[in-house]
Amino acid sequence: MDANHVFCGIVPPHMLDHLARSGSAAVADAARNALRMDAFHRERRLSAVAGAPPQPTVPGAGTPPDAAQRCAESVLRRTIGDAEHHQRLPGRVVRAEGQDAVSDEPVNRAYDGLGHTHRLYLDAFERDSIDDSGLALNATVHYSRHYDNAFWDGEQMVFGDGDGEVFNDFTISLDVIGHELTHGVTQYTANLDYSGQSGALNESMSDVFGSLVKQYALGQGAAEADWLIGEGLLTDQVQGVALRSMKAPGTAYDDDVLGKDPQPATMDDYVETTDDNGGVHINSGIPNHAFYLAATALGGNAWERAGRIWYDVLTGGKLATDADFASFAGLTAAAARARYGEGEEVQAVLDAWKQVGVPTGSEEGSAVVRQRSGTTAPTPTI
């Protein structure tokens, strides 16, 4: 079997690991078999899981590993380029798929980050790379000089080194890498307009799935996760812990040079501005916080239910390119019902939007969905 032929299951590897060590004899056997299926998978399990194993949670908790699904073959193809402080993209190729780590750490962090992001999408959402058709993943490091940013240029990721005074190297945070690649996923799916509320939703999608990439790699449940975006990116000269906080928007930093984190947590503090494409990185705090509230209310691993619901909306074909917060919120409630039926999932979603002041506007609409789903909805997976 090709080393890049990955095993993709609904049971995360750290859970298989746990089952292999502590399940009943039959379960442990099956888990060990699942773990043996792929060298890449095993390598990742050993490298990514740090600290105590997370508590298994629904829906994977009681699922025997032999129920794990075999996904369509997915080949991970990564290439890291070095812009050598110019603006050239993709730059000189310094590490390609399967090659050993190099001495330049930003290159290795970008390479590993692409792998972690690819794995979350494949394992949790059965998505084959960002276009769901195995798109090669490319990133360029050392872009320009003292460059305080990372971006997705429509085809690849680009990372600056930071200025060293306020910002460190932008490859430092795994969630930043997941964030940028998720811009690619959004581009290939809902393609949300990058301005105003749809732009803030575009940004929020990147923060949500960026955070999930990190949580999945660390094996952290919603309760253990830090819900920070860009943790480690600010130098120790800056008063702040990260660039954004999904748990407490507006509290990530408060510094003489950088100013104060401007993110609102609720619609009461929505910021009207023409800068930043109408505040796409500012008002994203509101849907970010809604996701955090829904995920923590449900507990367990955030990528399993809350993440699944958000992913269903992003990729479901009903989200308009110019969607506002309310229409997105209504779709999450409908998606929760469609996948899980009437239960704690839809309630958690509705409560979350209510707390941030976004009307789901869909009590009528969702009543229709509810009636319809009574006969046609798929069996809930729990």
């Binding site: 603006q87 993209l89 320009s144 000089r145 003292h146 305080d148 940013n149 990372a150 971006f151 997705w152 240029d153 429509g154 680009v158 932008f170 930043v176 964030h179 940028e180 811009h183 581009q187 990058y194 575009n202 940004e203 990147s206 860009g230 660039l243 950088l258 100013g259 401007p262 800068d275 930043d276 494409n277 505040g279 796409v280 990185h281 500012i282």
Partner: protein, 88 residues
């Protein structure tokens, strides 16, 4: 020559402003030359950027142009970096 740069957007979403007045500066001619070169290829209106890309509004003696990453020429990159680094 009065050169102002306003940078918005980016992953952080914070706005940065800086300006340089070249009158009386010993390196004034170098600034003028760089500014002229940068503006020669600038677009007069907002150019669509990319997700998380910076947008730059550059005003030279009342004349404003907009740039967006990653579509900057070397002269434009050099000018905005220099103003943001050395300007007040």
């Amino acid at each position: 020559m009065h050169i102002q740069v306003k940078r918005t957007g980016g992953f952080v979403g914070a706005t940065r402003r800086a300006e340089v007045d070249t009158s009386g500066r010993s390196d004034a001619e170098a600034w003028h030359s760089l500014a002229r070169e940068a503006l020669a290829s600038g677009k007069g209106s907002e150019r669509a950027g990319v997700p998380d890309g910076f947008h730059y509004e550059v005003t030279v003696d009342g004349h404003t142009v907009h740039f967006a990453d990653p579509h900057l020429t070397d002269a434009q990159r050099s000018l905005v970096s220099k103003v943001l680094k050395e300007g007040a």
